[in-house]
């Protein structure tokens, strides 16, 4: 990091941000294409930030744990390594449990704020849990792969693994919500 003037900061960051904007608007376009469902059930918008965040959060946990383990030599850079699988499994399980708690909280609090959910608790939980499972299924292997590549190429996890994981999380998050809505069939 250098002491730059504003122009060189912009030059350095702009290409990556422009690319991220394209990917994110691609995801947003899919959300827009299902706007009728959100028109009918506005409460579903409440799960968008939460599903988007789970990928980034869980991916960052696995990413930083693997980065430390790989450098300490307690984890081998291999998908079949027991520690790697253990980390993925545990983070996935914790992510699902955390979303179960958050989704139940939203289901109770939304009507209190005057936003009708209009779905049964089972449908609501099914949508959030299916979406979370899809996101975690995509993000956790991506985090492992990115950490192993970062370790082999000696890149810092902050600049490499975390941005990859949060973009994968954002994009699959929206796909996952739409998939879950279709599967449950509102």
């Amino acid at each position: 990091m250098r002491y730059d003037d504003w122009k060189s900061i912009v030059r350095e960051s702009a290409p990556l941000i422009a690319l991220m904007m394209l990917i994110e608007v691609g995801g947003g376009g899919m959300l827009e294409s299902m706007s009728e469902i959100f028109y009918a059930v506005p409460a579903l918008l409440a799960i968008v930030p939460m599903i988007n965040a789970i990928g980034g959060n869980a991916g960052s946990i696995v990413g930083s744990r693997l980065a430390s383990g790989l450098h300490l030599g307690t984890i081998k850079p291999d998908f079949r390594d027991r520690e790697v699988l253990d980390n993925m499994f545990m983070t996935g399980a914790m992510g699902m449990a955390a979303k179960f708690i958050t989704a139940s909280f939203l289901f109770i609090i939304l009507p209190l704020l005057g936003i009708a959910v209009g779905l049964s608790i089972w449908t609501w939980l099914a949508i959030t849990l299916i979406a979370s499972a899809v996101v975690l299924g995509a993000v956790l292997p991506a985090a492992v792969l990115a950490s192993i590549i970062a370790f082999r190429k000696e890149k810092s996890p902050d600049d490499f693994t975390i941005p990859i994981v949060s973009t994968v999380g954002d994009f699959t998050g929206i796909l996952a919500i739409l998939l879950a809505i279709k599967m449950v069939g509102i």
């Binding site: 002491y3 904007m21 994110e24 947003g28 376009g29 706007s35 409440a46 959060n57 955390a98 929206i174």
Partner: protein, 181 residues
């Protein structure tokens, strides 16, 4: 691997972060965004733009503080180039994202509310990035004065608070647009 220790360390953080995002979701679902054609298309980009610009600004400040270039006694004057860059990028990329979102919406077969999308996006971006940049400057200065490594505290805190703040500000602007215009 010590599974109990991992659950003890990571699970509370996952639940708290989930709750913070859920609060953001409450605002979003009450905002009426689905009534403004094109708005849903721009929302994910707007949230991630905030993270990209303010997040990297905060981590840049942390590094500048370690290098001794960022002076905690004159926090704003010693970080003005970073602030300028954040303002320029917030405005230009929010215009870029709005145009992209409008194009996607139009390609998908509906007429985007161009004025609404552009107004909400640019205003949200200006307001949230001014607040977050100031908070970043002040909290990096504060943590440096108290010998706390800004990388461990300020940056993760800002990204969570920033997500919530930008969703709340955006929801308020969307709501104002839907109700008054």
């Amino acid at each position: 691997m010590d599974r109990k220790a991992m659950v003890r360390e990571a699970f509370p953080a996952l639940v708290v972060l989930g709750m913070v995002e859920a609060l953001g979701g409450l605002f979003l679902s009450g905002s009426g965004a689905q009534a403004v054609p094109g708005m849903l298309a721009v929302i994910p980009a707007l949230i991630s733009l905030r993270g990209n610009i303010s997040g990297s600004f905060a981590s840049r400040l942390g590094s500048l503080a370690h290098l001794g270039i960022f002076d905690p006694k004159h926090p704003f004057s010693s970080s003005k180039e970073g602030i300028k860059a954040a303002i320029v990028m917030s405005i230009s990329f929010s215009v870029f994202a709005s145009l992209l979102a409008a194009a996607f919406t139009w390609l998908a077969g509906s007429i985007p509310d161009m004025a609404g999308v552009l107004t909400v996006t640019v205003l949200t971006s200006i307001v949230s990035s001014s607040i977050l940049s100031s908070v970043a400057v002040l909290s990096v200065a504060f943590s440096f004065k108290h010998r706390i490594d800004p990388d461990n505290v300020v940056v993760p805190l800002l990204s969570t608070v920033g997500d919530l703040l930008s969703i709340v500000i955006m929801s308020v602007f969307i709501w104002l647009w839907v109700v008054f215009l």
